[in-house]
């Protein structure tokens, strides 16, 4: 191998205007496109969405004419379980694995601020995960149409939009985990624990607490809103004009008290679950040594 000795003079061209968070987000998407884990997750989600749709549309009588059928209900459950896990773990893996592989230093030695790096990473993951949601729901929509019982595209779009909000909230929580926990494997473990608490323990804990302590319904509703997965469920069921039975006593109380505005309240909660962890992440990320 030979290296030419060069005289490097650089460039005086008019520089283009790039916004570092957008550049970093594009980089995250580029990496996701080549990430085996991402395609495993996305492919798995699409397969499950297809399987659920096929199963749910086997018996036409079980799919209500109001649109909120078995297929949509099952897709909501799938988002709660799978998308939440994907977003949390991918978000948690990013910064901590970048720290371990020292690629974070590569980014931070450029003239970009830490806030820009963090926001770009967040935005990239939300975009990649939202694409994965679109893929899964697209597959579900196609399969339901092929089965001769198409899901209302408007409802599917609303579900997609709400799922993207849940993605944003859970990626933000994942990013917070990755700023707090230095090692990638530990961050992954914490993310899975958070997922388990949000998806399973949150629901069961709430039910248990209700039975044990006779929680008033309004307290039960407030406690449910503390969990972004529950907020998503509330927002989707109301937005997709589903049966209020699916919401339990807290949901019924919420609808009785706030009317259809409860969906907006749940969306606001999802927004807060995005903004607050991100703000905390920025604070932690700026203060800690990153090399």
């Amino acid at each position: 191998m030979t290296i030419r000795i060069v005289s490097f003079t650089g460039s005086n061209r008019t520089p283009p205007r790039n916004y570092p968070p957008v550049v970093i987000a594009s980089k995250v998407i580029q990496e996701a496109r080549r990430d085996w884990w991402f395609w495993t997750y996305a492919g798995g989600f699409a397969l499950l969405a297809a399987a659920i749709t096929v199963t749910a549309t086997q018996h036409r009588t079980l799919t209500s004419s109001g649109g909120f059928g078995r297929a949509l209900a099952s897709l909501i459950a799938l988002v709660q379980l799978v998308i939440t896990l994907m977003s949390l773990t991918l978000g948690a893996r990013q910064l901590s694995s970048e720290r371990e592989s020292k690629t974070l230093v590569f980014l931070l030695t450029h003239p970009v601020s830490r806030t820009q790096v963090l926001l770009g990473t967040f935005a990239g993951h939300v975009a990649a995960m939202s694409a994965s949601v679109l893929l899964g729901f697209g597959v579900a929509g196609v399969f339901s149409a092929l089965r001769g019982n198409p899901i209302d595209p408007g409802l599917l779009l609303r579900l997609t939009a709400l799922s993207c909000l849940l993605v944003a909230a859970t990626v933000a929580i994942g990013v917070l985990v990755s700023t707090l926990v230095q090692r990638g494997s530990a961050a992954l473990g914490v993310a899975i624990s958070v997922w388990f608490c949000m998806v399973f323990l949150g629901d069961l804990g709430l039910m248990g607490a209700t039975v044990a302590t006779q929680l008033p319904t309004e307290t039960l509703f407030a406690a449910a809103l503390l969990n972004p997965v529950e907020a998503f469920r509330l927002a989707t069921v109301i937005s997709l004009e589903g049966s209020l039975d699916a919401l339990g006593p807290a949901g019924t109380y919420a609808v009785d008290t706030f009317g259809r505005g409860v969906a907006a309240l749940a969306i606001l909660v999802l927004g807060l679950w995005t903004a607050v962890p991100l703000a905390l992440s920025v604070q932690v990320f700026q203060r800690r040594d990153q090399a």
Binding site: R4, T9, Q30, E31, H110, D289, A291
Partner: protein, 284 residues
């Protein structure tokens, strides 16, 4: 160009840089020289604003605590082991760096051409050799034609041939107005690339001199690379160690650390011990 005043850094109560002050003038090349653990890399990280510290650092007047982004826009950085995105290709990596610095993407092909990286431009970084990665890291550091180059042991993770080629490449990057800060424990590199040497030990400045006076000031030793038949390398190293020479097996022979006056003695010792010295080379 760079002013470091009373820089102190501690990790979990252990001081790794202790009240260090120095200046690097415009166009000056300065080496931070010292053994592993002397605090050289920590100083570079502080200048880049990667880690918190006590004391003040300014780069072209920009305080690295308050205006670290502005300070970094003037700096090109070459790390010891380039940490790049393995999934991206050479061209994509250069393009990413251009975008982050708001530079024209025309520089991607220009830089790849200049550093002989155009042909493998579509290769993923994960598939590159250490030497190619280091060339890519040098290319990235040069994209913005920076006023300051921070070189953190840029050749230490490379094989000998690539070390020499990379050092020659770095030397070619010196130009009027561009400041170099090099951390190294390789004497030859320090002499070749810098004008001024600041010696560090346990985080403290223990002396400074010109690079011309470097070896005489610090009693620096040379490395003697002796080529032997392959089966003789291990026994030769054992005999040399027993005779008090600091040595290691290296390539097709042994590498010894010797003072300037001991070179011939070491060769005579090997010859008398009936080892077949096929070739030798002196590195400083």
């Amino acid at each position: 160009m760079i002013e470091v005043k009373h820089l102190t850094k501690a990790y979990k109560g252990r001081i790794v840089v202790d009240d260090l002050s120095f200046n690097v003038a415009t166009g000056e090349s300065v080496a931070l020289w010292g053994p592993n653990g002397a605090g050289k890399t920590t100083v570079i990280r502080c200048i880049l604003g990667l880690i918190s510290h006590q004391g003040h650092i300014t780069v072209a007047g920009f305080d690295t605590k308050r205006d670290s982004t502005a300070a970094r826009s003037l700096i090109g950085y070459v790390p010891q082991e380039p940490a790049l995105y393995g999934a991206l290709t050479i061209n994509e990596t250069l393009a990413l760096s251009c975008r982050l610095r708001n530079l024209s993407l025309d520089l991607v092909s220009e830089t790849a051409d200049l550093l002989n990286l155009a042909e493998p431009g579509r290769k993923r970084v994960a598939d590159l050799s250490g030497g190619m990665r280091q060339r890519l890291a040098i290319g990235i550091s040069l994209l913005a034609d920076p006023l300051i180059l921070l070189l953190d042991e840029p050749t230490s993770s490379l094989d000998l041939d690539t070390q020499r080629q990379t050092a020659a490449l770095l030397q070619s990057l010196k130009r009027p107005g561009r400041a170099f800060v090099l951390t190294s424990h390789r004497v030859q590199e320090v002499e070749m690339l810098t004008d001024h040497v600041i010696a560090l030990d346990a985080g403290r400045k223990v002396g400074e001199c010109t690079s011309k006076a470097f070896t005489s000031t610090w009693g620096i030793q040379s490395w003697l690379n002796v080529t032997l038949p392959p089966h003789q390398a291990a026994p030769a190293q054992t005999r040399l160690e027993a005779a008090g020479y600091q040595s290691q097996q290296y390539g097709r022979g042994v590498l010894l650390q010797v003072s300037a006056k001991e070179k011939a003695d070491a060769l005579t010792f090997l010859h008398n011990a009936r080892f077949d010295v096929l070739d030798f080379e002196v590195w400083r």
